[in-house]
Symmetry: C2
Subunit: 151 residues, 2 copies
């Protein structure tokens, strides 16, 4: 859970016998320049890169997102929308959690150092190598509580 650069990513890939590629650098770069609170699905990223003329195949995008999530570079978010979203995994004090409305999918970020610490401690206690830790709250937002739309 630290800040990656193209160089440190290459180093870590090579250490494992893997390779740095322009596609991986492009994707890392895209997430590093994403505003805090923004997150992308595979499709989002694909379109977004397509528009800036840096098109990368969907296959590679899916592969790379999974790879980076498993390396701890990206966080895989389940925002109740039927598909995964990704964001860069920044360390404390940028680390945050999500409060999600299950009806309209509106998502709020919030920070909570205590929950983060609890996660870190639990992983250590069990001897696990921590990649990500998220307190996810599913709830109904005020405006959806008032709405008459069923569930």
């Amino acid at each position: 859970m630290y800040a990656y650069t193209a160089q440190s990513l290459k180093a870590e890939l090579n250490e494992r016998g893997w390779r740095m590629t322009p596609q991986r650098e492009t994707i890392l770069d895209a997430f590093q320049h994403l505003d805090e609170g923004k997150h992308l699905s595979a499709e989002d990223l694909h379109e977004c890169l397509e528009q800036t003329g840096q098109g990368i195949s969907l296959s590679t995008i899916y592969r790379t997102l999974k790879l980076m999530a498993r390396m701890g570079i990206l966080r895989e978010l389940e925002l109740a929308e039927g598909h995964k979203h990704y964001e860069i995994n920044r360390p404390y004090p940028h680390h945050h959690h999500h409060l999600i409305c299950v009806k309209c999918n509106k998502t709020l970020e919030f920070k909570n150092d205590t929950a983060l610490k609890a996660g870190v401690r639990q992983a250590e206690k069990e001897g696990y190598h921590l990649l990500d830790c998220q307190l996810t709250i599913h709830a109904v937002c005020p405006s959806c509580q008032r709405s008459i739309v069923p569930i």
Copy 2:
């Protein structure tokens, strides 16, 4: 986040103009009798009920799981296996969180009252109606750290 019975479920459904059905009662019952630490996918539940002669169509199972999750009766878990798992949503002190190995998918439960409280407080603060709150840790378990299998 409280313990549902067939009666209280019926009451809450009727209040919203919906109906109690034998299928919904069967499914609620199945989860209430599931051991702590167990969770089922839609397919799991389907097979499980099929075997006890209480067969319910897959369509209805999917519909009911989603309904109950959105009512706060069930928790929807993402255990990194490509499909959702569900478990009954028990209140404190039975409430727990999950530590998941992203390589082998082995999952450990753990309790942490502080994280739960942090979630409850955050939802209240924003005026959200809480359904579920889970601290999910993605990590690599000790045996997978030693394994040479890539990612």
